[in-house]
């Protein structure tokens, strides 16, 4: 099941009236959409407000979403329009022509856009990155290999099982334990 298929299943649930399915879509994409909007706006409070507005617009428009594009591509466009409208309303000049949503998706989330991260945000982001990297380095080889195959190389469980010469159940367990170990270090940082 591809990421797009997972999203489509959640979208169909949300379209049938299951709000918690939409909550899962928000959980899944809140970081990426906020990071996208953070390229336009410096103030974190504004970023959260506009990101929230983008998700609310997406929810209201959800009955019209037919799955012809990936959910992420669709909400990416909504987010771009929302932040541009917000900047016009604030009498600020929005960036000119935007990169195409699907192209941006392939090119590191629209790297053509200006990154307006604040120093505080950069510090926290760096801290998260260092924590995750340190936890990854501390993992046993089999766990580290499995999580890297999955997250960095995008391999399926079956492909990882073939590469690591082990059953799929073992792959599932290794990836789960790797995430648990990293999460154990990350959680205090995020909740502190």
């Amino acid at each position: 099941m591809s990421e797009r298929e997972v999203d489509q299943a959640l979208v169909e649930r949300a379209q049938a009236g299951d709000r918690r399915a939409f909550d899962l879509l928000v959980l899944k994409y809140q970081q990426r959409i906020a990071a996208l909007i953070g390229r336009y706006l410096r103030d974190s409070a504004e970023v959260l407000d506009v990101t929230q507005e983008a998700f609310l617009k997406a929810y209201r428009a959800l009955p019209g979403f037919r799955g012809e594009s990936a959910f992420y591509t669709w909400i990416y466009r909504i987010a771009i329009n929302t932040v541009k409208n917000y900047m016009v309303a604030q009498s600020r000049r929005p960036p000119g022509d935007d990169v195409d949503a699907e192209l941006a998706e392939q090119m590191d989330m629209g790297a053509a856009l200006r990154d307006s991260a604040t120093p505080e945000r950069e510090v926290l982001t760096d801290e998260i990155a260092h924590t995750v990297q340190a936890a990854l380095d501390a993992l046993p080889d089999d766990l580290r290999t499995a999580i890297m195959f999955r997250e960095i190389d995008g391999m399926s469980y079956e492909e990882i099982a073939t590469a690591m010469e082990c059953p799929i159940g073992t792959v599932r367990s290794r990836i789960f334990r790797a995430r648990e170990a990293i999460d154990k270090r990350l959680r205090p940082l995020l909740e502190g």
Binding site: Q31, V47, I152
Partner: protein
């Protein structure tokens, strides 16, 4: 260690699109219900983003709660076409079987009432024509058995085809002595049959009184 726990399956399904034996729908249900599992799902996604070097926004973790609270005052979205398609997948027979059965039975009864007497009377009189009947004037020859009707002449097929759109039955002509005689006989016949069958109204009359070519 290869023992799989339910949580492993749920997170693998949602984060990696690799549902375990429980399936994807079960995983969604579980994560929707369990706040702790949802938090682990969220951090699991963040770990993946960080490992891939994708940008993130630390404060965005507050968003899901804010969006959820804002949606609480919104009407629930529903996609009408999805609901219609769900209905359209139901087999026709399961929608309203008694009504469908009743409609079919009523149709059969109506056909029997309209067609049955014609078949019965036609069979008893033995006057069912073997050749196609057409209106006069198409180059066909009058039939001595059916006043006002003609029998098709195979040698004149083109003109017969042209006449096929004309009315099949010519009406009774009261100026024709043969018609008058035949009609009188039919009316008498009708009175006898109507009293014997107990049927009244138009249907028995139409079945008995009419040009013999139709019976």
């Amino acid at each position: 260690m290869t023992t799989s726990t339910p949580d492993q399956g749920y997170l693998a399904a949602l984060i990696d699109g690799e549902p375990g034996p429980g399936g994807f729908e079960v995983a969604i249900d579980a994560i929707e219900r369990d706040a702790e599992l949802r938090a682990r799902f969220e951090r699991g996604l963040l770990i993946g983003q960080v490992l891939r070097g994708e940008p993130s926004h630390p404060a965005a973790r507050l968003l899901s709660g804010r969006v959820s609270a804002a949606l609480a005052s919104e009407p629930v979205v529903m996609r009408p076409s999805v609901r219609r398609s769900a209905h359209s997948r139901r087999p026709l027979s399961s929608i309203n079987r008694p009504a469908a059965t009743l409609a079919i039975a009523a149709s059969l009864v109506a056909v029997a009432i309209l067609v049955g007497p014609d078949l019965i009377s036609g069979g008893s009189l033995g006057s069912s024509p073997k050749t196609p009947l057409v209106a006069q004037g198409g180059g066909a020859t009058p039939s001595p058995e059916t006043p006002g009707m003609v029998q098709a002449n195979p040698a004149q097929a083109p003109s017969l085809a042209a006449a096929s759109t004309a009315p099949l039955v010519a009406g009774w002509s009261m100026e024709e002595p043969a018609d008058t005689t035949a009609l009188d006989a039919l009316l008498v016949d009708h009175r006898e049959r109507a009293s014997a069958s107990g049927l009244t109204g138009f249907i028995p009359y139409a079945a008995v009184v009419g040009p013999s070519g139709l019976r």
